[in-house]
């Protein structure tokens, strides 16, 4: 019963971290390394940067590391094909905004944490899995793994796993399904933007 961990980390509530030590030569390791470095930078920037400063700093990192459009489509699922192009665009933008807002909101301080990237990168079909560990000076390590797929010659993150068990994508699908079914893409965009606004204050 003392399982005091947190799926929170799924949302990367981890408000901490130190220089990411990369030990993989796999090309899929690069975006993960870039993300970890970016997160460390905003953590260290902390309060001085402020939420807007952290957002501005992490935004280009997110754009480079993640395949946000694909993550959006996967989160929405088959309903995507019947979604109007304008709504699709709005959804992608909303997911991007939320991703940035959550990182900027959650990674707001640094107290000695660091990321370790596992040297071995696993491959299945078109995808690769890069494992990392968020190490905190106090407390247990948190496993965070990234699933990547190539897009236009670049490896991009398409899913994030917390503690080897909880997929962000799977959680989002579940999260979005009901709103999509009831209110469609527009309702989801509205909800997502509200969450971003909340995360950013």
């Amino acid at each position: 019963m003392i399982r005091v961990s947190g799926l929170a980390a799924l949302l990367l509530a981890a408000s901490t971290a130190a220089p990411a030590t990369a030990q993989t030569s796999d090309p899929a390791g690069a975006p993960v390394q870039a993300l970890d470095d970016g997160l460390l930078a905003i953590m260290k920037g902390g309060k001085a940067l402020g939420i807007s400063g952290r957002s501005a700093k992490i935004a280009p990192v997110v754009d480079r590391a993640f395949d946000i459009p694909l993550m959006t489509r996967l989160s929405v699922g088959p309903a995507w094909t019947t979604t109007a192009p304008a709504d699709q665009t709005a959804l992608v933008a909303a997911i991007r905004k939320l991703t940035i807002a959550q990182y900027a909101g959650n990674f707001d301080g640094w107290s000695g944490e660091s990321f370790k990237i596992a040297p071995q990168v696993e491959t299945r079909g078109t995808d690769k899995l890069v494992r990392t560990t968020l190490v905190a000076p106090k407390g247990d390590a948190t496993a965070i793994a990234y699933r990547l797929r190539q897009n236009g010659g670049q490896w991009k993150i398409i899913d994030v796993f917390y503690q080897n068990s909880v997929s962000q994508l799977a959680t989002r699908r579940s999260d979005f399904a009901s709103v999509l079914a009831k209110g469609g893409a527009k309702a989801l965009v509205t909800h997502l933007n509200q969450l971003s606004a909340k995360a950013a204050n």
Binding site: M1, R3, S5, D63, Q88, K138, S167, L188
Partner: protein, 331 residues
Amino acid sequence: MGALGGASGLALAASLMMPVAAGAQQQAAPAGVIAPTPLSRAAVSPAVKATRTAHFKGDPLEGLNRKLFSIHTFFDRILFRPVAMAYKAVVPKIIRGGIRHVFSNIGEPVVFVNDMLQLKPKRAVRTVARFAINTTIGVGGLVDVAKTNGFKLPHHSNGFGNTLGRYGVGPGPYLFLPFLGPTDFRDLGAAPVDGAVLPVAVGFPFNRIEYQIPQGVLVGLDLRAESDSDLNALLGGAVDRYATLRSAFLQTRAAEVYALRHGDGASANPLDDPLADPAGGGGTSPEMTDPLTDPAASESQTAPSPSLSDPLVDPAAPSPAPGYQTGLAGP
């Protein structure tokens, strides 16, 4: 960040639990087992009626569960959380930690019994060693010395729900119970077994309601307080809190049972398993089981589902999705 401690994301789930139930001997028993079943069917069909939110596979009682979740949320807001946070604010950290450790230590025999039932002798031995060390050097469990570098015997959770899962019992329908949190039929049914171990084997004081209620309250308060930040982070980012918690719980339980069924360490490194071809669907490694079919890539027969175990067929998407045109992803 501190709250990121513990083990499984179950905590998250567990954090919603207030094991007030007398029988809830440690382990928040229900936090039990998994749902390897594919969750979403309905989500899959674009033709889902707008009027009715189709429930997920694995959650046939969704309507009832959502009502119970609202009730729990209400009481959490006006009662559980305020009291738990007050407990955290008033009682010094070291005392709260001591109380937590004592009850966790008292529960180690239950962990041991389940280790044995699961035919995991090495784990059982570690559990015994841990219990012995903490009970003696750790002063009746007050201090978790077994976890430290000298011994390297951290606590691991275990319960009869895990044991059933290990031998192939499915989770059954998902349940959300006020005061207890997320669970499923199997875990709920298994909880009394764990709860009976100490009362039956030891008797006094574990068989007394005068012991059980304070224990349930203290453990529940502490868990609620310790999980607060994680819970906020998970649910604060959710469009649909009920569905998000359910998904996190089911995935966590699925991973735990998966690890038990596939040998020691499987949880730590599930990708030791062969990576299944997306189209083949048969993969064993949780992280890669779902081929993540791009819905924009024309028609796919298979539907994406929230469950990890759901094999999604990759339609092999050659055509870029409209969404790509936004250029937001940047190179």
